[in-house]
Amino acid sequence: MKYLAEYRDPGLARAALAELRRIATKPWSIMEVCGGQTNTMVRQGIDEVLPAGIRMIHGPGCPVCVTPLEQIDRALAIAARPEVIFTSYGDMLRVPGSQTDLLSLRARGATVRVVYSPLQAVELAAANPDRQVVFFAIGFETTAPANAMSVLRAAELGLDNYSVLVSHVLVPPAMRAILASPDNEVQAFLAAGHVCAVMGYTEYEPIAATYQVPIVVTGFEPLDLLDGILHAVRQLESGRTEVENAYARAVARDGNPAAQKVVATVFEVCDRAWRGIGVIPDSGLGLREAYAAFDAERRFAVSQVTAQEHPACIAGSIMRGSRLPTDCSAYATQCTPRSPLGAPMVSTEGTCAAFFAAGRRSPSSLVPAPTAAVQPVPGSRESQS
């Protein structure tokens, strides 16, 4: 684990910043896609020490944040059932639904367990044949292989008491939606390194070509981010629009074919609603018909659950990159990590929570917000409210 220190070296960071200052001649707007990158960016204050004019736009890459409120209400409806052991990654527990959250349900008697891998949930199902074990399968391409594996494992064990509540989303369609917006201001992307570790980066090549944007596969340590930004700015300054891999220690061009095969076996591409953005065609993964028996939505008949967002929350604009948390009237007053109104305040990867944890309380230290980066997709919640 010694490698960590090398990617946090202050001297190397200063050198990278100096190089950025040397080569940047124009203002550029760059989006980091992944919430993990946003977290490092804000925790380390990287966006505040970049050369003036280089603006980071925080993308929609927090899996907790983009999970629609309806899906959270479905999770809560399932978890409230006495026969259910509801399992989830930790940070979903605090996400408020319309009425309650999983932590509060647990205090009122529901069985809610944090697991670190969905295979733990399968083990729980095998050990508790008289209970229904449900795993909240959310996330990007990064978590999909393990979640798919859990379904295969449950099938192999012949378990009829394991199911998954799926809300998987895919990165490339979200990037296309952002770029296709008439108000788009994103001029380059830092692609999410761990998503690319699974999927590779060939699917970004047509995006870079079609929309004429540099896309740099980027890691999560401070120096990874600076290196990603450096690659992006070099391309922007020289007019190149290529896919570059600045995270070669983890990412190969074709990704991890074994993981992709598992995902393709269990899941198929489907339309998916993104919280705050709306439905993006072909932007998610759903269970294939062959594995429909493991679909918690069908098993517990919760498809009809609907929900409405808090009126003060501007999570949608924040996740589209068009506004900053500090632009929100509820930010740090009505809405804090202790009583979040919307998802970006809940997960540590959420832009609002990252801003709050870093103590950003006023817009004064920040670059001016753009008017709008992305139009709401027709049919989204915000466009109808």
Partner: protein, 360 residues
Amino acid sequence: MTATVQGAGCPVPHRETERILLGHGSGGQLSAALLRDVIAPALASGAPGAIVDDAAVLEVPGMPDGGSPRPGGSLVFSTDAFVVNPREFPGGCIGDLAVNGTINDLAMMGGRPLALSLAYIIEEGLPVEELRRVSAAVGRAAATAGVPIVTGDTKVVGRGAADGIYLVTSGVGVTGAVRPSASRVQAGDAVLLSGPIAAHGMAVMSAREDFGFDAEILSDTAPLHRMVADLLAAAPATHTLRDPTRGGLASALNEIAETAGIGVDLDEAALPVAEPVRAACDLLGLDPMHVANEGICVAFVPAAQASAALAAMRARPEGVGAVAIGRAVADHPGRVTVRTLIGSQRIVDPLIGEQLPRIC
């Protein structure tokens, strides 16, 4: 988009106020709110606000002793309950925590521990062998610390009414010449830390979840009273001491900043975190400054005595990793900030509720 269950009005997200959440026991903001809003008001007939401290100083009036009056003095008094899961983890067990935790609470008030009490709450069905192991650990820890267990109690509750064993220890000590208190902290004080952070919390979490980390992480549980005595002798102007247990260093420093009405500036590069601990925190998305410790303390010492204080701490095995991590400042009272590795400044918030590992 759709009608809600509540009709036309938009539902305000629910916030649990009627039931205790696990997060209320985390040592963070929820714990503080519970103490402030529910417990302290009910106990206000005593010394208001005093119960928010981990230990209290009691003035003992002069007492007649065989006809001739004996002068009064002051005692330091503390109590703590231990409910760790799992009860045994790399580097220690619940028995070590129960002894060292209460000794450290006394030491942070500048107290020299005299004796401890120990109460067991045991669940029906617990293997006697485990009770033997825990008791042996208590005995060893007390002997190592040189602080005897002088009284106690044992209760057994029905299966399911407790989780194995809970321990409750109380301790008394005598105060010395130095009375550290958060309210004495002044701008300019050096902030010293006696050793690396986050080891205990990550040791317990990795034992509970069996992550299979390559490097074993050991709890830092240790009694600190001897190191503190040396520290206070070397730096008698020490303003305050705190052992950052639940809620971690971030919560402890925020409490001090708030009580003292000063700001605290830390240097991230100076914060000691053992590499396997840092890697485990990274993997789970936890901030090492929010993770529990059981064998380190933070000291606010006037700059002129900082090097003497550091030397005294480093001369003890439990303080061999002592370092300066920042200073108290007049700016941003009540706030803790850290200078990041990149060179920008960020605010360090206390832990909110339960620590929740993030998704990926």
